[in-house]
Symmetry: C2
Subunit: 143 residues, 2 copies
């Protein structure tokens, strides 16, 4: 079995090795938003022999093939997630670090607007909103 990206360009097709399947399965099953550390932790759980090098090599491959998105919130927090459709965006609580996905039709409107004004051919949009979730807000107040 092989993996590749439907609208692939010059990127070669690659075999779906046991390790790659393992990693992709974890990413798919995850409630999403795993960092490399957590992904490795879960991978070790399923196959104690898998190595970090393999993990990073394949994360990079997945990124290049467009199977996985890398989301870097800041220097210290990079998360990986399987691409799913429809596209969605992220809302992060600065207190508890909970991440919520959301969608909004306003974004495609915005993209159209920018495309028209700038002449860019836009292929990807990343949007993070940060703030405080209802729980953390009220805990804050209680203090």
């Amino acid at each position: 079995m092989r993996i590749n990206r439907n609208h692939a360009t010059e990127i070669k097709e690659r075999p779906l090795t046991t390790q790659r399947r393992l990693l992709l399965d974890i990413l798919r099953e995850a409630e999403s938003h795993l960092d490399a550390r957590e992904l490795f932790h879960r991978a070790i759980g399923k196959d104690p022999h898998i190595s970090l090098a393999t993990l990073y090599r394949n994360l990079r491959l997945f990124k290049e093939m467009g199977l996985v998105d890398e989301r870097c919130l800041d220097e210290a927090h990079c998360y990986y997630e399987i691409k799913r459709s429809p596209e969605h965006y992220h809302l992060v609580c600065k207190a508890c670090r909970r991440v919520i996905d959301f969608e909004s039709p306003l974004i495609s409107k915005l993209i159209d607007e920018v495309r028209r004004d700038s002449g860019f051919d836009i292929v990807k949009a990343s949007l993070y909103l940060e703030g405080y979730c209802p729980q953390c807000k009220s805990e804050e107040k209680a203090r």
Copy 2:
């Protein structure tokens, strides 16, 4: 002289040392979007004795004080820029890496929408659009 953030909360006021002024000046004068390496390069130009440790310590301080924003496009590309108003967002060309700033009233509409739906108190929005700029698009076609 001192630096602090107008709507400061618990963050102490800090003295504006020569090194801090130097760094802030560079960030202010920059056409924006400097990474740590480039910032250091320019800093060394003005004061050959300034150290990387000072640069990182102060970048972190500036972030905490809300003077500077850190934008991480991916693992390898973190950029720092002085906060200016009004808020603006980024459009990056995947081919030439050019970065364009833009604003749009649709974003505050979007934020209102998300705030209403999620109950979050939203304090920051980061939006990157990636694609190909008009020049790179036509060079691509020419090939």
